[in-house]
């Protein structure tokens, strides 16, 4: 046996939480872990060990990295990977070029059998910071309260110091709270779970108008996977669609990437999120970036059927996520956050419980 590796004990603790407390793996269950070559294999091995200790039937799939996200991965995925995914009882995805929104992912989620947890691109250090060291019992009441207030609002406006100014209507669309309880379906009835510390929903698409400024990070997969941005990317939004892109070099590459994908649905806004994970830092990995405390995030392109309340996905070849830092959010004119800090009187105590 070699010497213990970096964060070995903390990793074991985080893995234990994921398997026992989060996915609640039972003996005999089929537990699947997928991981591509751009992610740290130690995370996969650590959760596999815990599941094996619980007498699950464990398969870790380590595979060729596709050059993009979502359905853009379909043609590059080994056929046995596609066949394996929908057959799991529980699936943790560590892929850096994630399988989320790909065809096998859709099949898995629609089956309602697979409990899916997306930890795409989350390496050992991030897993320890964003899962293992978070006190979920303290954080979850805060997340639940924010989600409830948002769900009850009619109108939402989000601004930030970089020039973001966008508003939209809610019309009681479901608001999903990511609490790391992956043993039960989300409020939309889907067993699709994501790293905790995020609140996500699809606003009424046609009502989304204004300007979105990504000043944190932008991840579009393939050549549009920028990580953290050097210059902000500004999107003019009209009725839920991108009407214009401006900014520096990254904006130009992004514009070209969208043109190359040649899919009109890649210009449509799919969802918005709050980021409230106390361990998250802006590091260029979307799954972490979109949870930086006080940010908001927009997803563009593929939209899951369970967010929009229409029962059908907005199918698109891929999905892009961009991060707006230090946001001020108002719900029907009432401030919830101001430049990334929680200011609503019903929330400040709950936020301070987790050190925010």
């Amino acid at each position: 046996m070699g010497l213990p590796e970096y964060l070995e004990l903390e990793l074991a603790k985080a893995a234990d939480f994921l398997v026992r407390d989060s996915l609640k793996i039972k003996p005999g269950e089929n537990f699947l872990v997928t991981i591509d070559t751009e992610t740290d294999f130690r995370s996969a091995a650590a959760v596999a060990r815990v599941a094996q200790a619980l007498d699950a039937k464990v398969a870790v799939i380590w595979h060729t990295t596709p050059p993009g996200f979502g359905k853009a991965t379909d043609a590059y995925l080994p056929e046995p990977v596609k066949a394996a995914i929908p057959k799991a009882d529980a699936w943790i995805e560590f892929n850096n070029q994630w399988l989320l929104y790909s065809t096998p992912w859709e099949e898995a989620i629609k089956s309602k059998k697979v409990r899916y947890l997306c930890l795409g691109g989350i390496d050992v250090e991030r897993l320890v910071r964003c899962v293992g060291k978070v006190n979920w019992q303290l954080l979850n009441p805060f997340l639940t309260k924010v989600a409830e207030m948002t769900h009850n609002a009619d109108n939402v406006r989000i601004t930030n110091p970089a020039g973001n100014d966008i508003s939209f209507n809610m019309n009681h669309r479901p608001v999903v709270t990511e609490t790391m309880d992956c043993s039960i379906p989300n409020v939309c009835g889907a067993h699709a779970h994501f790293l905790g510390g995020q609140i996500i929903w699809a606003p009424v698409e046609e009502t989304i108008s204004g300007q979105i400024v990504f000043d944190g990070a932008l991840a579009g997969g393939g050549e549009a996977y920028f990580g953290t941005l050097r210059t902000p990317v500004k999107l003019e939004i009209k009725n839920g669609k991108i009407a214009g892109i401006s900014g520096g070099d990254e904006a130009k590459i992004y514009e070209k990437w969208l043109a190359k994908l040649d899919d009109a649905n890649m210009y449509k806004l799919a969802h918005v999120c709050y980021g409230f994970n106390p361990g998250a830092k802006l590091t260029g990995v979307t799954v972490e970036d979109e949870r930086v405390w006080g940010c908001t995030e927009w997803g563009i392109g593929y939209q899951s059927w369970y967010y929009n309340g229409k029962g059908m996905p907005v199918s698109a070849i891929s999905h892009v996520d961009g991060i707006c830092l230090n946001c001020s959010v108002t719900l029907d004119g009432v401030e919830v956050t101001r430049e990334g800090r929680v200011v609503h009187p019903e929330l400040t105590d709950l936020a301070s419980e987790v050190g925010k």
Binding site: A59, W62, H63, T64, Y76, P80, A88
Partner: protein, 347 residues
């Protein structure tokens, strides 16, 4: 470095992997992951779509493994172009293996399966990486031809094996080297076939090793296991403690088909040593090996359906085909084969 070269031989020379093919590598928790990793690298370099499945180790071989295998693995196996199995507790003869191999053998499936079960770094380097593949192919080709043409055979060993049987000219003699067409293929250095089951009579003495999965994985034998065979069926086991263990295990499996001889093989891998690992042992130069129980579809024989499969090794065999001696206590008596053997570093 040697492992890198070996992986390259597996992917490019043996499995002949083509660009954009799906390559599945399965490996269980008892096996050395480096082997899977290096083969995956070679496949990626060959522009294949690669998947390594590292999974819970089943408690036994063949269909005994079925309840322990993760469902995603069941689904993955029949859906690949190439499957390289490195498992220690192998999936060979399990139901997902059947699901992949039956259509492949019938010309309806695509999976090219290469069995390298249980080989660690040292073993795969010795038994694949360091072999002169072209000379090996030449030797195996001649041996296969001679066996195909033969009808009445006899095998003896210094330990007391003396068994007679007849071959069916309509059945294939499997020359294990390449995995270039759909169906099952095994580590090089083995020639295997199913004789006419009822014609097998005599005594088989396992003096090398015995492998039946789980508690019947006896490895290298301390005392020979003597099996009396009548009309293809094992009717008596004698020897020491290990013979008793085999008897007990077969009794526990409670499957009468586990007593029937499924196939016989020659072992001619110049790198193989008796190590206790069946995959390697059954290829030890000059041995013969008998498998009992499940009979793979590729033998195009009776198709014995059994819950598991057990293999035993008889060292330093002497072989006669239609009265003509081919091998004397593990050494070739045929001059043409002796020259090729020498080229491969053996006698």
């Amino acid at each position: 470095m040697e492992l890198g070269k070996t992986a390259n031989v597996v992917i490019n020379k043996l499995c002949k992997v083509k660009s954009r093919e799906s390559v599945l590598i399965t490996i269980d928790g008892l096996e050395e992951f480096r082997v899977a990793e290096e083969i995956a690298k070679a496949a990626e370099a060959a522009d294949a779509k690669v998947m390594v499945a590292w999974h819970s180790t089943p408690r036994g071989y063949g269909k005994v493994a079925d309840p322990y295998l993760p469902e995603p693995l069941w689904a993955a196996i029949p859906n690949t172009d190439v499957w390289i199995e490195l498992n220690n507790q192998w999936l060979l003869y399990s139901t997902p293996w059947d699901n992949a191999m039956k259509p492949a053998v019938e010309g309806k499936g695509k999976v090219r399966y290469m069995f390298l079960g249980g080989l660690n770094v040292d073993q795969i380097v010795r038994c694949v990486g360091r072999i002169d593949i072209d000379t090996q192919a030449e030797l195996q080709e001649i041996l296969t031809e001679m066996t195909l043409k033969g009808r009445k055979m006899r095998i003896t060993t210094p330990a007391g094996t003396d068994v007679y049987f007849e071959n069916d000219p309509k059945r294939p003699v499997r020359n294990e080297l390449f995995a270039d067409v759909p169906g099952p293929h095994f580590l090089l250095g083995q020639i295997a076939w199913a004789p006419i089951e009822e014609s097998i009579n005599g005594t088989i003495v396992y003096d090398g090793s015995y492998s039946g999965g789980a508690e019947a994985d006896l490895g290298i034998l301390r005392t020979p296991v003597r099996v009396t065979v009548k009309n293809g069926k094992a009717v008596e086991f004698s020897g020491g403690l290990e013979a008793e263990a085999v008897k007990k295990w077969l009794h526990k499996l409670n499957d009468p088909n586990m007593y029937y001889a499924a196939h016989v093989c020659y072992g001619f891998n110049p790198g193989a040593r008796l190590s206790g690992l069946c995959t390697e042992d059954e290829r030890v130069w000059g041995c013969t090996e008998w498998g009992f129980g499940q009979q793979g579809p590729a033998f195009k024989a009776k198709g014995i359906n059994a819950i598991s499969h057990a293999d035993g090794i008889c060292l330093n065999s002497s072989i006669w085909i239609d009265g003509r001696q081919l091998l004397d206590k593990g050494k070739f008596t045929d001059p043409q084969l002796a020259i090729l053997a020498k080229k491969l570093g053996r006698e």
